[in-house]
Amino acid sequence: MKLEIKKSFSNKVVWILAAMVMFMFLMGYFLLVGIDKVNHVTYNMFFFSSYTVATQFGLMLFSFVIAFFINREYSNKNILFYKLIGESVYSFFYKKIGVLFLESFVCITIGSLLLSIMFHNFSHFFLMLFLFSAVILQYILIIGTISILCSNILMSIGISIVYWLTSVILVAVDPKLFGFIAPFEASNSLSPRLDHVLQSQHGSLPSSNYATILLYLLALLAVNFIILRFSKTRWVKMGL
């Protein structure tokens, strides 16, 4: 992890992540004030709007930095160095996504904390921290998995966007059938439930929603593990 943390600082990845998280919260505010013409922004409105930005624009916002952090090792021909220091495709990938998630989590925590302090309200702090973290983790897993398969960063970003748009369309067509492939999508059941919970000050999401999110993330991890299993040779070849 030491090498990846160092790399994330020298490549300014951590600052880009921080800027993206800040932009996500700012956009949440300006969408309320600028488009919805809300005069008095409340704590719940702010959180829900920022959450909507994270789920609707998050992939666009984070795809570059996630793909960059992985694809750069291919373009810089560093894979043999990773082999030299004893890394496998698994440890290479999980350390990368571990650092990306850890840094994103710190930024999200700071953002949510500042928002809660500003409004003197912590009623949904942990709920939103969990949801934001889960949303970012899904992006890291999806874009990271695609990036490990593509040596070209533009290809990784392109395929990630196509995957995302396809999942959004499928969920819109039939939320019951395809709902599981994009649980955070606005047309899915989680979003209106969260809106309702945020309005009610002290409520929380039903446990089935938490279970769905955790199962979804575990499914992403499982798919990722299978892909890595078949990418051992490809990983070295693409890095040469």
Binding site: L3, K7, K77, N78, L80, F81, I85, G239, L240
Partner: protein, 210 residues
Amino acid sequence: MNIENYTLKVKGKTLLKETDLAFSTGVISHIVGKNGVGKSQFAKDLLLNTSKQMLPDVQENVCLISSASNIPHDVSKDFLLRFLRDTFNEQMISRMEQLLNLSNIDGKILIKHLSDGQKQKLKLLSFLLEDKAIIVLDEITNSLDKKTIMEIHQFLNEYIEEHPEKIIINITHELSDLKAIAGDYYLLHEQRIVPFASAEQLIDVYIHEA
């Protein structure tokens, strides 16, 4: 290391055909050849075994040092050495530092800001720590200044003397490599790797190649 009837095809193109390869320990085997004849593909095949003709003990014991194997450029020399010390033998690292004369490289700045020669020396140190039996050097003196090339020549001469159990294959364009480092000489010509008795004979054929 002996491989008989070796054939290498890449994307349908035959680069090497039914050629016998024999490289000895304790000497540096130079392979010279024009651009596009397949020298680098041969180097990669030693590691990847796409030809399916490498024995497992070859593939598992190859260390490839080429433009396809870089050290991270987004860390400093000091960080890299500290990091390598966590994994590899301290004594070995210190000896390599000494042989490669690394003390005059600024340890604080990122490797991407160092000269090509300095990067190449750090790369040699890092990859040789792997201590593999077969070392493949692919154009390692390409585009370097004369002083660094001389330092690398000196390093390789000392390294092979200290490690007579190793097989070192040096794929090169630099004819000065052949004169500065004694060893075995091969020319990759017409899909074969042909041995020559001396550097002069090889150079004579090489520069008069069509």
